[in-house]
């Protein structure tokens, strides 16, 4: 398979993640929305650290900012740092069990949210609500499924 073809699959999965990020859901479910972009981007960075890394994270973050109407650069900053941590430790993350990976993903989601909160706090006088942190749990619970689905895609199309 040519590298260009693999790139298309990665981009498509990222676009799907972006779509799920802005998809409207009923109000009570909104704070349980998993961090789809972090899940998908995290998987590709762990699986293909030489191809998908900070460049992808920065551009995806910019798209998230534009889609959510957040101040530009905030999600780019957070995702770049998260992806840096993943790419630096990809060997470790690959070799632990799925549930341990989920714990790490939960930790990274929390870090992501804290960086975003801190950056917005610099600009505006905002406060955090505990409801905002529920999505860390759902992101952790969904990680194994995302991992298995994306691994199947990666193996089927032999993306390396």
């Amino acid at each position: 398979m040519t590298p260009a073809n693999g790139r298309l699959k990665v981009l498509l999965s990222l676009i799907l993640a972006l779509l799920l990020t802005v998809l409207p859901v009923p109000e009570p479910l909104d704070s349980f929305r998993p961090d789809w972009v972090l899940l998908v981007l995290g998987y590709w960075c762990m699986a293909l650290p030489n191809r998908v890394s900070i460049g992808y994270a920065w551009i995806t973050g910019l798209a998230v900012d534009l889609l959510l109407g957040a101040p530009l650069g905030i999600h780019s900053l957070a995702l770049s740092i998260i992806v840096y941590i993943i790419v630096m430790n990809y060997r470790l993350i690959r070799n632990i069990s799925l549930w341990q990976q989920a714990l790490i993903v939960g930790f990274l989601t929390m870090l992501n949210k804290l960086i975003i909160f801190w950056a917005e706090r610099l600009l505006f006088d905002i406060s955090i609500t505990p409801m905002y942190l529920w999505s860390i749990l759902t992101t952790m619970l969904i990680w194994p499924w995302i991992f298995l689905i994306l691994r199947k895609i990666r193996r089927q199309f032999a993306i390396r």
């Binding site: 779509l19 998809l23 740092i81 950056a119």
Partner: protein, 289 residues
């Protein structure tokens, strides 16, 4: 395969550049107004995703429109027709009052109000930044929308445009933390500023002396002082006025008149200056009829 050391240094370098780029983007985006033009293009680039995300709720809307039965529709049409009739009669009165008002204002040498260009837009239901209160509407720069444009609905003030793309725009709601709107109390013309609280249904009025004549239930309307919102549109009703001894100011809270969590259609208005000729023709038409 490159040696590990080389990749990790380049990775750190890339992170360094990414962080620098993010910070400069944050600063440029929030401090320089001229960057708004760049944002229009960037927003337009991601607009297919916004419209794609709206498809499921549009489909649901279509389904619920199809399952209404004949009797309900008939009832609805009758109610609408009655309402329209009453409003047409009120409109006749309004036309008369408008003319009278214009003449009186001319007598007083006050600036004459002119009709403004108006446009109806629909809300696109998409998720947005959890730290700010905003909605997306389906009209953009192609329809002539601009940043800072007032957004209303049939009940009162909704907010103002903060971000435009070619085909959609973002409206900052009046209850967002970063939003403030100059108001006056309808009963006695006391001026104030209504700041958003970050909660959808509450506004704060800071710096109100405790001796101010503001009561619970007072209606706040736009004062037109900021230059963004036209004068006289209802904004909120006062829900709390309390004063603690030792505090320099009273604590005044208000609730927006528009049910901000349930808006579906909004009205955009333009400054009436360049439409004065349209207005003339309209009144002429009214005169000949």
């Amino acid at each position: 395969m490159k040696p590990i050391f080389a990749t990790s240094t380049s990775l750190q370098l890339r992170l360094f550049f990414a962080v620098i780029a993010s910070f400069s983007l944050i600063i440029v985006d929030s401090k320089f107004d001229s960057f708004a033009n760049v944002r229009i293009y960037l927003n337009t680039a991601v607009s297919p995703l916004i419209y794609a995300a709206d498809i499921p709720s549009e489909m649901l809307k279509g389904v619920s429109n199809n399952v209404v039965n004949r009797r309900d529709l008939r009832k609805q049409v009758k109610a609408q027709r009655d309402k329209l009739f009453i409003q047409q009669v009120q409109l006749l009165e309004l036309k008369h009052l408008k003319e009278e008002n214009k003449r009186l204002r001319a007598l007083l040498n006050s600036p004459v109000h002119s009709d403004q260009r108006k446009l109806v837009a629909e809300i696109i239901t998409v998720n947005s930044d959890p730290y700010s209160l905003q909605v997306v509407i389906n009209k953009g720069a192609l329809d002539g929308l601009y940043i800072g444009q007032p957004v209303l609905n049939e009940q009162g003030v909704v907010g103002q445009i903060v971000d435009v793309s070619a085909t959609y725009s973002r409206v900052l709601l009046i209850s967002d933390v970063t939003h403030g709107i100059p108001v006056r109390v309808q009963r006695n013309d006391i001026r104030a500023i209504a700041n958003g609280s970050g909660e959808l249904n509450s506004l704060n009025l800071p710096y109100m002396p405790h001796s101010t004549d503001v009561q619970v239930g007072d209606i706040l309307v736009t004062s037109g002082l900021g230059g963004v919102f036209p004068e006289g549109y209802p904004v909120a009703t006062v829900t709390e006025f309390s004063y603690q001894i030792g505090q320099p100011y009273a604590q005044v809270e208000a609730k927006p008149i528009v049910a901000l969590e349930r808006i579906r259609y909004v009205l955009l208005i333009w400054d009436g200056e360049d439409n004065s000729s349209d207005n003339e023709t309209e009144t002429n038409k009214g005169g000949t009829l």
